[in-house]
Symmetry: C2
Subunit: 198 residues, 2 copies
């Protein structure tokens, strides 16, 4: 739409662009309807998880800031796609793709607003703050809930062993001992069901 | 999962429940893939809109708080369903259904956390603060973007006239003159396309 005030025009262009996140499909299924989750739904869900569970972080966190981080943490998937945790190593150029995606997508915004969001994304990626470590814990914990509600989800498919799983989602414990304790109970239950190998 | 600490157990029960929002389908279509939007995707999108556009509110607002409000504003649809703006009057008991849904869903949480969210939802519904008026403006503005990207969306289907439309989404102007000015340009364009009647 031409002739809008510059800042608002840039912001609306960014918003039009990020609607693409609804087309990025993840390896996890929704808890109740069994459909594959898309990254927009996922982002809503983990943002709300971050808000509701902030009291369980290992270090004091700002729940509202954690939620903001989780709202934008996967925008880079619009260009770089989603790479399932158990789907084997991501392509070697995955990190490069995500870095380029962040430059392009956050670059649609007015300069200082784009820089703020870009920095927030980088903080998340690098897990370089208490907020980011807790946001990462949430992002790793949510698929465990989804898999338990869907016959183990991708665990049996990828022949996942418990030690592998504990390693891959170990970030949960970095952010929240309380959620890590729940994760251990989920692993026990998944192993008892035969969805996770010893 | 039995035997969890009470607060965390209640919070996880709430989180399991709200995954149902991914099954509530709206009358609007996504901007790029043309699929009907579900309410979880919608909630993600408007939360991020609220954050990015906060500077355009008529009154000073807290963007992070607006985003929180928008993350939870439609949770009642899990029980009460979505009622499209142009689909005719909602059933007489719709408000009652939503009030009961709020009691049930927020009631899953630990008391004071549930009360805080319930109050935030009520503040949104009643548009009784600057944050709520701006959040409502965002919630009304987003479907205009969706309809413009989808051949007018539900406007032609419901034979919508401009005066009706301006009345139904007038809340945009209560929250943001800047977005109302964009809405007017969208109405002009929709009318020029024949999607909105004079």
């Amino acid at each position: 739409m031409n002739g809008l005030p510059t800042r608002l025009g840039q912001q609306l262009q960014f918003l039009v662009e990020i609607d693409h996140l609804k087309s990025v499909v993840r390896a996890t299924r929704n808890l109740h309807n069994g459909a594959l989750e898309n990254t927009a739904e996922h982002s809503w869900y983990v943002a709300l998880m971050g808000l509701m569970l902030a009291e369980h972080a290992n270090e004091p966190v700002d729940g509202a800031r954690v939620a903001q981080m989780l709202l934008i943490h996967d925008l880079v998937e619009i260009d770089a796609g989603d790479h399932p945790l158990h789907g084997g190593h991501p392509p070697a150029d995955q990190a490069d793709k995500e870095i380029a995606a962040a430059v392009r997508i956050f670059g649609l915004l007015p300069d200082e607003q784009g820089q703020t969001l870009h920095a927030l994304w980088h903080e998340f990626e690098a897990a370089e703050s208490a907020d980011a470590r807790f946001a990462k814990a949430i992002d790793r914990f949510q698929p465990l809930m989804a898999n338990m509600a869907n016959g183990g989800g991708s665990w049996p498919q990828y022949d996942v062993h418990r030690a592998q799983l504990e390693h891959r989602v170990g970030g949960i414990g970095q952010g929240s001992d309380a959620l890590w304790a729940v994760a251990q109970r989920i692993f026990d239950a998944g192993q008892a069901q035969g969805w996770i190998k010893a």
